[in-house]
Symmetry: C3
Subunit: 669 residues, 3 copies
């Protein structure tokens, strides 16, 4: 990419009156150079089946072209016209628990439904025909935040049984065995009589079905990409807007899509990210999104959606919009695009506000965007294509996430509360982030994580044996492994190892365990770590063989009490954390382990000062110093260089003041 | 009306044995002069289709007649016989989310169903034939607590599409535009293919459908009233038992019925009211009910149901039954009727206790009723037909309530909690009530609110433009307007203004705003109000043009901070409160505004002393001094007069002691 | 029985590899002498309809036989094969609210379905044929934790109407009257048109239907027992695994089964019990289970399932497994069997851990079982068949439980929280347990509770008149009655008495009441009890006639305030507690009443020291001293005897130290 893209989603179709010229003028003032259009409004382009009208698309492309603004075209397939349901009601998704959805909500169709696919293909082709040839159309987004939406329509269940049949080489007995169907009389006697999967209580089957649903997403995106590719020029990219687990904001690993697999269909990674703001703005989600999305195509990525004003609890404080934009770039984003340009005047998301409010007037948030946009125009060549070479990888797994959903870690005695996979992943990521240990978030399926100096592996509950073997080989060859409780428990079909846990890793870790409990107020007793911390939610009773003990459980009335260990294995080292501890203590533990066990060169700064680095197209080191607090902070420059935002020269050792919610960007001389 | 009605609902049909004589004796002892009967027991009167037996009705009317007790007849249509469902299962209501209801619960039929209407009409006519001619039958209640019960049966949806077609003059494009159906591909291509409205995520459509459901209630009541009118004498009234939003007690504006429109069908307003009791008894709900119901027919009203012993958490303290009864009269009620005479021995509401417990014996609550009833017998002519001429109106809107349900004001960052329309209405009403500012609760549709000196307008989120124009004219002509945040945002189809907010009122209020946020601990910084108060849940960033600033947000990290303003406009004044504050502070703010800005003559007393006034049939001012606390309170008589309850003369300036939970009623000399 | 059975459920069918020999060796080491098999795995024995394969059953029986281990065979009917649903989808249960269940979960069939019964009978007969003849098969468990599973399939509703018809001698008017169907127009005009019972809001009908569902369980178990009896030898027992209300552990009376009636089908009582552990281990649930199950066949019983490692919050502390095992024996159990031998590697209950973890290795819990098992081998003849002769009975009623579910005791003003029947039963049982007042838990239907010296009757809300009359006669004849609030309110059809409450017991108790309330912070004012305690949730206003007042409500703003009374009646005494108080105060109240009013000889010890006694087969008194705390406790031996576990002689008056979570067992000399 040649420049940083700065822009917003733009919906001419939602405008209460013709705003195009006015909007473009405001965009130009704000340095906006790209818009994303069309991904939501199928029924506007095809008001009746087969009657196409792309006038709003064309007029926007042409007006943008005239203004020198680029356009990304989204295929409008994630929200279907009501006439499609009149034609074929089975287009609506059937879900576990709730039956067939009623028309209204977007993303509520069965993505495998033949009628849907037929009409979706037609609208995609028609849209491509009218839009692909424009110079300023730089790429295509296929669908949007695609998932299987829980589809378990009849055809999906038929497909799943075919998938299982293939998986088990037509051997139904093998499947019964692998899934443990003897339990509670759940055996399946024939592929034809496979019971409705929505009723299952079998975690192995349930998890396998969710994996299958994720595969449907891969297939669907590939199918769209193939169609789009027929029309796209070589200089036009194909992307998808990947999103994350949603808890009112982007929380962690997406349960319903394996981003790493699904991204095979695309040529450049895209994502959306929404995060806590105001006092709760930490940059954590932005960084998590970047560290993960950057790995999909192993290069820079596009932030296709992020919040401008957002909900009322996201209304940015003074300077936060600026801080957010640079945070994305610091993580390797080549595009920062808001959802969306203008706040919508009715329907459902009217209070998910865009850069402009409902009155379209300038406002303080827009005015900060003007600052960002004009700075980017000036600095684009220095900031674009930031390359990182991180020594640390955080290993994640969709399968572990799903398995721990089926076999939750209960942390209250009334089972009212559980510790989820993403809770644990976030806890480990947060510690790294707060310590300014930059990392890549890598899929367990990836074939390159063995190249990292340090691997952090939170609760890798399930994996095929070869993953465990690769982890073993990794340490043996000199790797440094930090692994948490609830790792290496089960095989790929979520069958718990009968050979002991951690499965296949007992030698590497120098321990085993076969008992565990919910803590009853234990703290860690340790001379190694300064503060032991409070054990929260879960603890394993480690039985070291060759491992050294780093921490034990205090006040234990159980027999055993080993909590954290380190083991030398081959040329490497493996630390195992056998319990969940409070946030602050986990940070202290990881700090000590990285420093003392892993000889990792820690940053002098910790959150709220976040330091992010990379090399730009000129081969120069660019350092972002981000202040995630409402106070001015002092930092010492680690090398001489140019303060890009205000053009002053900085000397090594110089004391720099970073205002609240502000950022300094240094380029080495 | 010539006297205060004091009574109870009476169900001879539920009696375990023949109690009629005994009950009447107890009623007479308690000064009871009216009973309401028949509204719940269709299946007793028509045990099989077409076989009528009104013996229990007739015997009660006749026995009451002999005892000199009046009777209100309720049409028994709100609970249908099981045989009606055997005849036609489609009588049961179909609701969003839950499909067709199963028989059992009352108020679960489709009020538009033809079978239901046919049989309902027949039972009404038969009942009228046997009951209307009795002298002591003073009026009829049509149905009970009528609503549409969420009906979205097929016929209702067909009717709704017809309604829309008419509304939009058959122009489907106009509807698509008005509702913003381009959003998420929701366009409707033909009236025939209108999708099931239950699936919609479009707030404009959703709110319109709920308005349509409210219209069904208006139609249904008018239909019943027309039938009843064929039989009723001129001296017999027709009423309906209107109820309020229910949160375990009567909370605020009824979401499912527009009382003001529905009351066109009736000749006298009736209502029921249930409220917190014991330590939580404040009189607020009683007053809200009165200030609202009094406006329906612009005169006195009937409290057709209120609690006697109620649930166990409503069990009145010593003297509270007396206080409650007089509170109703102080608000302008001409009837206080308990639900119900006796506690029911089985089925569903056995612990919603009546005046008598299950043993029918005298009890402490009944004994207080004896006090009330006998005092009323004595004082009836002094207390009946109390006329109020309030200077202040609180403007309410069913449409605003519904719109804010579809577009909730989120006040927690996890969206787990919202500030509802009724929360806001109650907050403003509570402040007025606590300050003893008597007000009328008036519908925004009403044509007479321009006559009030002060209008209080909480969160009038939607309205047609002419309402905003009338508000503007009101201030210009000298009116005093107190308007809260989230007012004048959207048009009648819940489309947010693109011309800026407050829509059409920027000149009147001397401000605009286009940004708002969830507060993060802000307080009000103000020299005008003594204590600023804590901003809770929501804040707007006001941009004054001609308005003066009365309060700002302290500790704001946003750019703007204007919170409360006042503006002179024409001959009037308009105060705008741009945020939600805690209860105590809101009271202080309103006190100051009324006193200082509106030159309103405030009462010397505040809650827990409540002062309510009106003129009686003799043209004399009657003042109720109500003590809503468990301590004796002292008040100074504001004028000389007669203490009606104990007959002593009071001199102006005399210090009066009001016992805990007690009331003094003064009639001016 | 000749010896204590010690064992576990054993599932050869779930094994990842052939473990039988290894497992038996580990069992023998642990002194295990019994396994329960087969109750869950129908689909393994009948993989396709009619093709039977009991090889896993036979090989286990034979291997156990060789090892001298006994076997209990469970009929595998509580979890059905998926092919059965393919054959007939109506086998799946239809439930109120959720319609027909989807296949997957166990215990989700309609136990009255003809297809189910046909195939269930066939598999039972085939299993009996191959297993009943083995010497070491000592008995049969019919089904498992059987309930009606909420069945309200069409055939069940037809059956229910037949049942009602019979109940009311075909007199539909009598039924309408008994159930109060006049209320809300709920009358039923013909048996044919009986509406779907799932919709009812009538508590009388609802409770009657739940009673009918419990009768279905009785019938189903009798039907199974009859089949099994055809094959069983005289020396083989028939049992059922009864369980309790489930709130994440065994909480109290089972709502869906009347254990006392259902146990007619069996020859020896069996049960399962799961309970809080770790810091929350109190022994309460174990004792409740024992005191109740011991009454089913009026002799010793089998604990067919209890926790070994259990969920992570049940992971036993050091010595707790030993304490638990002896606690069962102290209550009269003749068998302690874990669920289950090994932790399961997949499906649904993988973290409900057995004695062995997933790795099958020895672990600390297993090692404690080795201690228990070997002690039991040695002490079996001294501990088996413990006979108790308690003076106190706690009276329970399924009907009261159900009725109070339909008419809950609301204890929060927003109705968000209720006091359930089991909450109250547990509160009274906990007080007795903590005071070491051993009791029998007896059904109100039982014909022998008049023989007890003291009857404790918590909230016997409903009963037929003859029960109330028997209670009256009991006191008159010299019995001591302790009765709580909400007793004797309604008749067997849940119709509240119109003759006053407590119904039929006003003379016995020397009081009546007809008003009650939710407390608003009242405490008890009493000179009789030392500490009055806090009134929680509910209070009645007692009107003593002949009763003496023991406690009153302080700070009451109501008229009345009598809280607790005692009355002499005939030769007996009756105490009535008119309110719910906090746990500690209730214990103090009951202590005082037992000591002072009932002249009961209280133990010197209170919780956490629990003392349990009985006579063994040698006619000697055996005393268990159980320490439910994490501290060593001192107790004084009450008589000389043998410390069975360590063989030392103990002298009367000797000070004994009981280690934390440990037990001393004394046999009198």
């Amino acid at each position: 990419m040649k420049e940083i893209l700065y822009g917003a989603a733009y919906y001419d179709e939602y405008m209460p009156y013709d705003r195009l010229k006015k909007d473009i003028a405001m965009m130009l003032k704000a340095g906006i150079n790209v818009v994303r259009i069309a991904e939501s409004t199928w029924s506007t382009y095809e008001k009746e089946p087969g009657k196409f009208d792309f006038s709003s698309v064309i007029r926007v492309i042409e007006a943008m072209k005239e203004a020198g603004i680029k356009v990304i075209i989204g295929t409008p397939t994630y929200a279907v016209p009501s006439w499609l349901i009149s034609l074929d009601p089975t287009v609506m998704v059937e879900r576990k628990g709730s039956g067939r959805a009623i028309y209204g909500m977007r993303q509520s169709m069965d993505i495998t439904n033949k009628t849907y696919l037929h009409y979706a293909e037609r609208i995609i082709r028609e849209l491509m025909k009218v839009s692909a040839n424009y110079d300023n159309v730089i790429g295509f987004q296929i669908d949007n935040e695609t998932k299987a939406y829980g589809t378990s329509s009849k055809n999906v269940q038929v497909g799943f049984v075919q998938y299982l049949k293939k998986q088990f080489h037509n051997d139904i007995e093998a499947m019964n065995k692998a899934f443990g169907f003897d339990y509670w009389s759940n055996r399946v006697d024939s592929w034809e009589n496979f019971p409705n999967v929505n009723g299952t209580i079998n975690g192995s089957l349930g998890a396998e079905f969710e994996k299958y649903q994720r595969l449907l997403v891969d297939d669907f995106l590939q199918w769209q990409a193939d169609i789009v590719s027929e029309y796209a020029r070589d200089d036009q990219f194909i992307t998808q807007n990947f999103d994350f687990e949603w808890r009112g904001y982007s929380y962690g690993v997406q349960p319903e899509v394996n981003h790493f697999k699904a991204s095979k269909a695309i040529t450049i990674a895209g994502c959306d990210i929404y995060h806590p703001a105001q006092d709760k703005l930490t940059g954590l989600e932005i960084a998590f999104c970047g560290d993960s999305t950057r790995q999909l195509k192993k290069t820079n990525y596009l932030v296709l959606e992020t919040q401008a004003q957002g909900f009322s609890n996201m209304m940015p404080y003074r300077n936060q919009l600026i801080l957010n934009a640079y945070s994305h770039l610091a993580s390797g984003a080549n595009a920062v695009m808001y959802w969306h340009w203008h706040s919508i005047h009715n329907s459902a998301e009217s209070y998910w506000r865009g850069l402009l409010a409902h009155d379209f007037a300038e406002n303080k948030t827009y005015q900060e965007a003007v600052v960002v946009g004009n700075e980017l125009k000036r600095l684009s060549s220095k900031l674009v294509n930031l390359k990182k070479t991180n020594q640390v990888a955080l290993l994640i797994s969709n399968e572990a996430l799903t398995a721990l959903k089926w076999f939750p870690i209960d942390i209250k005695s009334d089972f009212s509360s559980t510790l989820s996979y993403n809770d644990i992943v976030r806890a480990y990521y947060r510690a790294l982030y707060s310590l300014n240990i930059e990392c890549d978030i890598v899929s367990v399926d990836s074939d390159d994580w063995q190249n990292y100096e340090v691997l952090v592996v939170p609760s890798l509950y399930v994996a095929p044996d070869d993953v465990y073997e690769r982890l073993s080989y990794y340490v043996e060859s000199g790797g440094k492994l930090l692994m948490s409780f609830k790792s290496a428990v089960a095989d790929e079909y979520v069958t718990i190892s009968h050979e002991g846990t951690p499965h296949k890793l007992q030698e590497v870790l120098g321990l085993s365990y076969n008992q565990f409990a919910s803590p009853t107020g234990q703290t860690l007793s340790t001379s190694y770590f300064e503060n032991g911390g409070v054990v929260e939610g879960f603890l394993e009773f480690l039985q070291p063989t060759t491992a050294q003990i780093l921490a034990e459980y205090e006040d234990s009335q159980w027999y055993d009490n080993v909590a954290i260990t380190v083991n030398h294995f081959g040329k490497g080292k493996a630390v195992y954390v056998g319990c969940h501890v409070d946030e602050k203590s986990l940070m202290k533990i990881i700090e000590k382990i990285f420093e003392d066990q892993f000889n990792y060169d820690l940053s002098k700064y910790q959150f709220p000062i976040i330091v992010k680095k990379g090399k730009n197209d000129f081969g120069k080191l660019v350092t972002y110093l981000l202040n995630y607090s409402d106070h001015t902070q002092q930092v010492v420059a680690e090398q001489s260089g140019l303060d890009l935002r205000n053009g002053r020269q900085i000397l090594e050792g110089q004391l720099l003041s970073i205002a609240s919610w502000d950022v300094i960007i240094l380029e080495e001389n």
